[in-house]
């Protein structure tokens, strides 16, 4: 059982340096698929592949925010000509961020990240027990199906609503998109993060809908597992963005 702090476990394919005559052992799927060679989809292997895909997909997302960060820092230091005094001044106005609201949103996202993790563990357990529970006469006792997935979706949506309220708050304080480059970046970074999180919510909704259909729990597990990891990534990304906006005002 993975602990909360563990990273995505992706077994890198063995690279046989040199390419001599040695032959790799047969490639087996991930956990829980031993002996299943009878036409069932190899879920362990598909899960591993989906996690690897997610890991690769974090690279361009990070590059997107890294490039926005570098633009942020460069733009912050630029001088601009003040036509009245004919001198160069900095036009960067530190944004008066609604700190309390943003901290509350951060807390909301943290809790949603925890519930996403609980949903992930819940479905991992269900997937592991699925072959046993399908045997007639075998009872696994009380089926604990607390709706962690639904709670995550609600909390995630709550975060987005909170971010929207923060935007309204900013506008009340006089900071619109084009007010200053600093406020442009606040809107841009939060919107970019919000869009990515909204994508995660859509995938979780998809997983919830799939659970109503008669899809195998293993297939649903892949969706939930990858989205939960993505969700943690989104939480860390938000911490980074919040930190940047606050400490590099």
């Amino acid at each position: 059982m993975a602990t909360f702090s563990s990273t995505i476990t992706v077994r890198p394919p063995k690279a046989d340096q040199g390419g001599g005559g040695s032959v790799r052992p047969p490639v087996r799927g991930g956990g829980g698929d031993g002996g299943r060679n009878d036409g069932f989809p190899d879920y362990g292997r598909r899960l591993r592949r989906a996690r690897l895909g997610l890991l690769v997909a974090t690279a361009p997302i990070m590059m997107l925010f890294v490039s926005l960060t570098s633009a942020y820092i460069v733009r912050q230091g630029l001088p601009t000509l003040d036509e009245r005094t004919n001198t160069y001044v900095r036009d960067w106005i530190p944004v008066n961020l609604p700190l309390a609201l943003l901290l509350m949103n951060t807390g909301l996202l943290l809790v949603s990240s925890i519930t996403a993790e609980l949903a992930r563990r819940q479905i991992t357990r269900q997937a592991a027990l699925a072959p046993v529970s399908s045997i007639p006469g075998v009872s696994l006792g009380e089926n604990k199906s607390f709706p962690w997935l639904g709670i995550t979706v609600v909390l995630g949506t709550g975060f987005l609503v909170g971010q929207w309220m923060a935007w309204r708050e900013l506008q009340d304080r006089g900071f619109y998109l084009a007010t200053s480059a600093s406020s442009s970046f606040v809107y841009l970074l939060t919107a970019a993060h919000g869009l990515h999180l909204a994508g995660g919510i859509l995938v979780l909704l998809y997983a919830a809908i799939v659970s109503l259909l008669q899809k195998p729990v293993e297939a649903r597990r892949i969706v939930v597992d990858v989205t939960a990891w993505y969700w943690h990534f989104m939480f860390l990304l938000w911490l980074y963005i919040f930190g940047l906006l606050w400490f590099a005002r």
């Binding site: 989809p41 690769v56 601009t80 084009a178 841009l188």
Partner: protein, 577 residues
């Protein structure tokens, strides 16, 4: 054995739409990319023809565009560059050939994420349609060049075509970025996770290595272009000031202040330079593959080739500033960028010498794919050698805005990459369509294209040194350029000849697709996995079996072997090796 069928998530499709339009099969998607690029390359070529004709007959009334005004010329220039770089050089070598052959060459039944693969193609298609739409809106296509320098690109009233046309241009680029990211994600996951038993990283064909590294470059570069494009759209439409300083256009003070046009240049070229390698690395992979196959020799220095691809990819991210020597950057930065740029000459030279080493003392089979592979090496050297010149600020500053640069990058990034595609097309055509292309017309096409492209782009170096500026539309009235007009006319004639020669290729392609002689499973006697399967390959590539690999990709003329080549799947005991 059964795992192949089970991992292969989708069954063979039925019906025309699922089979040929919204197909999940990487082979169909690869062909879709190739035909998209083929369409795009003819659009781009037509635009370049209009430009060349305008340069020597400036008052001529041309089809579709009428008389070319200076702004029309810039619009043609912009769209030619954009279409060629994005929808040809990025689309065909990676999306086309890579999609078709990467999974087969590593022994996989399909890409890791087939649905994502389909989305990637159709997103690219939408981007192309949006790009072409820019021609037909009010004001026409944008005129800010394929590099889209701000503030020209960031203001909606900076010229004709900079209204809706430029918005469509940026939108198209942004869509293209997303498509490329999806493609790159698929390529990397497939290469890491779906190799057949025995296909270690160091047994992968150099084509696979090239596509893999190219995908990594795309993965890191396109996200940056995407964010740059978003900032540009905000500047244009929502009044932000990322790129636009306090600026007066036609006596009217614009609302922006404090932005920096250089910020766009940095972000753009951080993508733009790796993009050069995204275009050329797959060509290098194909050249390595073909030189070894047709020279019937192992590739000289396989490991060195792999590490050279990695080094080129890595250094490609360190050198974007050499596009900006003219921007007034600190001489110390320029020095650093200059040194890093010239350092790329080292892995490039390793590759070139290894190609030549492969050809040394070989019994070369001069078939059409091989001719194109040799042509690639020739063009890579001719175009590459002017690189270290331009890498030095002291030479770049006088040469930067002249035809010298046009000659340089067309030879190396344009024509060399196109030769890689031609080589790949002639080489893999039998596998893709089950028939051979016509050999004689292939050779005629090669000779005309090689001579033609050299005649077009070599003289441009001289024009540049004689200070003929680039991006200007009209030279006939300029006194100091009068003595260059014969050379300009020569280039235009060569361009007309070369473009005409491309119809030989298209006719050969279409004719051979239906009427060419039937191809065997392995017509070139090559070793890699795509030649072990049927022609054309079945839906899951290997007909329900999983190939097992025992050999490296280039075991030609191995002493003691029964044939002069050992397939990668031949049993391990074929030789002592």
């Amino acid at each position: 054995m059964a795992t192949t069928a089970s991992i292969h998530a989708h069954a063979a499709p039925q019906g025309f739409i699922r089979k040929y339009v919204f197909s999940l099969d990487h082979k169909v998607i690869g062909l879709q990319y190739i035909f998209l690029a083929l369409t795009a390359v003819f659009v781009g070529m037509f635009l370049s023809l209009l430009m060349r004709i305008h340069m020597i007959w400036p008052t001529a009334v041309l089809p579709l565009v009428g008389e070319i005004k200076p702004e029309t010329y810039l619009q043609l220039l912009t769209m030619h560059g954009t279409i060629m770089v994005f929808f040809v050089l990025t689309t065909a070598p990676q999306g086309g050939f890579g999609n078709y052959f990467l999974p087969i060459q590593i022994g996989a039944p399909d890409m890791a994420f087939p649905v994502l693969n389909m989305l990637s193609f159709w997103t690219t298609f939408v981007a192309f349609v949006v790009m072409l739409a820019a021609f037909f809106v009010t004001g026409g296509a944008p005129l800010h060049g394929w590099t889209g320098y701000a503030p020209l690109s960031a203001l909606t009233n900076s010229g004709p075509g900079e209204q809706l046309g430029a918005d469509l241009w940026i939108t198209s680029i942004a869509i293209f970025c997303i498509a490329s990211l999806m493609g790159a994600l698929n390529f990397i996951t497939t290469t890491l996770d779906m190799r057949a038993k025995g296909m270690t990283m160091m047994r992968m064909p150099l084509t696979v290595w090239a596509w893999f590294i190219t995908a990594i470059l795309g993965l890191l570069a396109f996200g940056v272009l995407l964010s740059a494009g978003i900032l540009l759209l905000l500047d244009r439409n929502l009044g932000t000031s990322f790129y636009v300083p306090l600026v007066v256009v036609n006596g009217q003070v614009m609302g922006h202040k404090g932005g920096s046009p250089l910020l766009w240049q940095h972000l753009f070229w951080f993508f733009g330079h790796p993009e050069v390698y995204i275009a050329i690395l797959p060509g290098m992979g194909v050249a390595s593959q073909l030189l070894s196959t047709f020279a019937r020799k192992p590739i000289f220095g396989y490991k060195a080739m792999v590490y050279a691809i990695m080094a080129i990819g890595f250094l490609g991210f360190m050198v974007w500033g050499h596009h900006m020597f003219m921007s007034g950057m600190s001489p110390y930065s320029a020095f650093a960028f200059s040194i890093m740029t010239m350092a790329i000459g080292v892995p490039s030279a390793i590759k070139t010498f290894n190609w030549l080493g492969t050809l040394l003392h070989a019994r070369i089979r001069f078939q059409t794919p091989m001719l194109y592979a040799i042509g690639f090496v020739s063009l890579f050297v001719s175009g590459g050698l002017s690189g270290p010149f331009l890498a030095q600020p002291v030479l770049d500053i006088p040469l930067h805005d002249t035809a010298f640069v046009v000659g340089h990058f067309h030879l190396i990034m344009g024509v060399a990459a196109i030769f890689g595609m031609f080589a790949g097309m002639y080489y893999w055509f039998p596998k893709m369509f089950g028939r051979m292309m016509n050999e004689r017309w292939g050779r005629v096409h090669f000779v005309l294209t090689l001579i033609g492209t050299y005649c077009i782009f070599m003289p441009m170096h001289y024009l540049g040194m004689a200070a003929q500026p680039r991006r200007y539309s009209q030279f006939t009235e300029v006194a100091y350029l009068q003595h260059l007009m014969p050379l300009n006319r020569f280039i235009t004639y060569a361009a007309i000849l070369t473009i005409s020669a491309q119809f030989i290729f298209v006719i050969n392609l279409l004719w051979s697709m239906f009427k060419g002689p039937k191809a065997s499973d392995n017509p070139w006697e090559a070793t890699t996995l795509e030649w072990t399967t049927a022609t054309p390959p079945p839906h899951d590539n290997f007909g329900g079996v999983t190939p097992v690999v025992y050999h490296g990709p280039y075991e030609y003329s191995v002493p003691g072997a029964p044939r002069d080549y050992i397939m990668q799947t031949d049993p391990a005991g074929v030789t002592a090796h």
